[in-house]
């Protein structure tokens, strides 16, 4: 069971009707058993009723006239233009940084897309892959030819690829080593 020190601050909210149901039950259970807290609740209730009846104060009857004079003596504001970039920028306030960052990110993304588009569209009927891959494949074949010529082995797997392909194209007297696909 909660003690008075924990319950007392809740009594004010209990009187206001702003506690949730769990806390209402807790306060009601406590004040049913605790005379000082029950007294506090009753006196808070009376106090709030007295405060609600305190009448509104009113200013003097010349209030409106004095206010009108003060308003009349204020400088007239200049007409607000329909749209002004400086006013728009000023009205942005704290949103400026967010907008700037978003604009920069969007511009970067557009530049990246444009760059990719320009790089990939070099010539008609060719793809970047093909344009990049053909010289590379030729180089690999050539390098392999050089390496295999430098260190010939009986292992069929290092036979010159182009020579074996040529041999494959000569069906009658070419040596047959089986399915080339097994040797590649």
């Amino acid at each position: 069971m909660k003690n008075c020190q924990a319950i007392a601050p809740l009594i004010s909210e209990y009187i206001n009707g702003t506690l949730d149901s769990k806390d209402v039950w807790m306060v009601q259970s406590h004040i049913a058993r605790c005379e000082p807290c029950a007294l506090m609740a009753a006196e808070f209730q009376t106090l709030t009723q007295l405060l609600k009846k305190v009448p509104e104060r009113t200013p003097t009857s010349s209030f409106d006239e004095k206010l009108a004079s003060r308003i009349a003596s204020l400088p007239q504001p200049s007409p607000r233009p329909r749209f002004s970039l400086s006013i728009f920028w000023q009205d942005m306030g704290r949103s400026r940084t967010t907008v700037l960052r978003s604009a920069i990110a969007l511009a970067s993304a557009c530049a990246a897309v444009l760059g990719i588009f320009l790089v990939t569209s070099r010539g008609p009927n060719t793809t970047a892959f093909e344009n990049a891959e053909t010289p590379l494949l030729t180089h690999c074949i050539e390098q392999h030819r050089i390496d295999s010529a430098a260190q010939p082995l009986s292992d069929l797997s290092v036979q010159d690829v182009s020579a074996r392909q040529d041999a494959q194209n000569q069906p009658s007297d070419a040596l047959s080593y089986g399915d080339d696909q097994d040797n590649l």
Binding site: L51, T58, P59, T60, L67, R70, L74
Partner: protein
């Protein structure tokens, strides 16, 4: 003329916007409609004056400061973003003006009430005090008036931070979150100040609240 307030020779205009909600009045004020401004003044001047009077304890100062609230409102409609209600905005201005006033004055603001003064500060008020006379019946009215005076005295004795929350919640009927916005403090602090303010009032007004 676009951008200029429309004026007439009689000063503030009131009446045609009596049933309009506050938001519409604010929009009309942005369009420089003097009648809408007059309606806002009519709606809020007593509430603001009561609050400021009980915060400052001086009727003349309270009247000047209440006018200052409306002057500031008049000058800043274009910057009011409608994120809070009009009443919250006005009381926020009033609270800030009271703080500025306290800093300028830094004097004791306890209110000395006289039973000879009228209950209302308006010049045409007819509410007066009566001496207790057992042969003349409205002792009940006297008791009620005395209660109210004692309550005003007790309120004046509260520290300013507690007093403003009690005034806003118990007298003006503002909600916790509105008060938090007005006095610029967390919700928990509002509840704590309300509890502490009421606890002090309970002791000051023990003769009136005891069952």
């Amino acid at each position: 003329m676009i951008g200029q307030w429309t004026r007439n020779s009689t000063g503030l205009q009131q009446g045609i916007f009596v049933s309009y909600p506050d938001k519409i009045l604010v929009d009309r004020c942005r369009a420089r409609d003097q009648s809408a401004f007059g309606e806002i003044v009519a709606r809020y001047k007593n509430k603001l004056y009561s609050y400021i009077f009980r915060m400052t304890g001086n009727a003349e100062d309270a009247e000047d400061l209440t006018q200052e609230v409306f002057v500031r409102m008049y000058s800043s409609f274009d910057t009011f973003k409608n994120q809070s209600s009009l009443s919250t905005w006005l009381f926020r201005i009033a609270s800030n003006i009271c703080i500025d006033s306290f800093r300028r004055n830094k004097k004791n603001r306890s209110i000395a009430y006289s039973l000879d003064e009228p209950l209302h500060s308006a010049e045409d008020s007819e509410a007066t005090h009566e001496a207790p006379d057992s042969s003349y019946e409205p002792h009940r009215q006297y008791m009620r008036i005395e209660h109210q005076e004692q309550i005003e005295v007790a309120l004046s004795k509260l520290p300013e931070k507690l007093r403003e929350v009690v005034l806003l919640y118990d007298l003006e009927g503002a909600a916790y979150d509105e008060i938090a916005e007005i006095v610029n403090c967390p919700l928990g602090t509002v509840k704590s100040r309300l509890f502490n303010g009421r606890s002090q009032l309970r002791k000051l007004l023990s003769d009136y609240v005891a069952p």
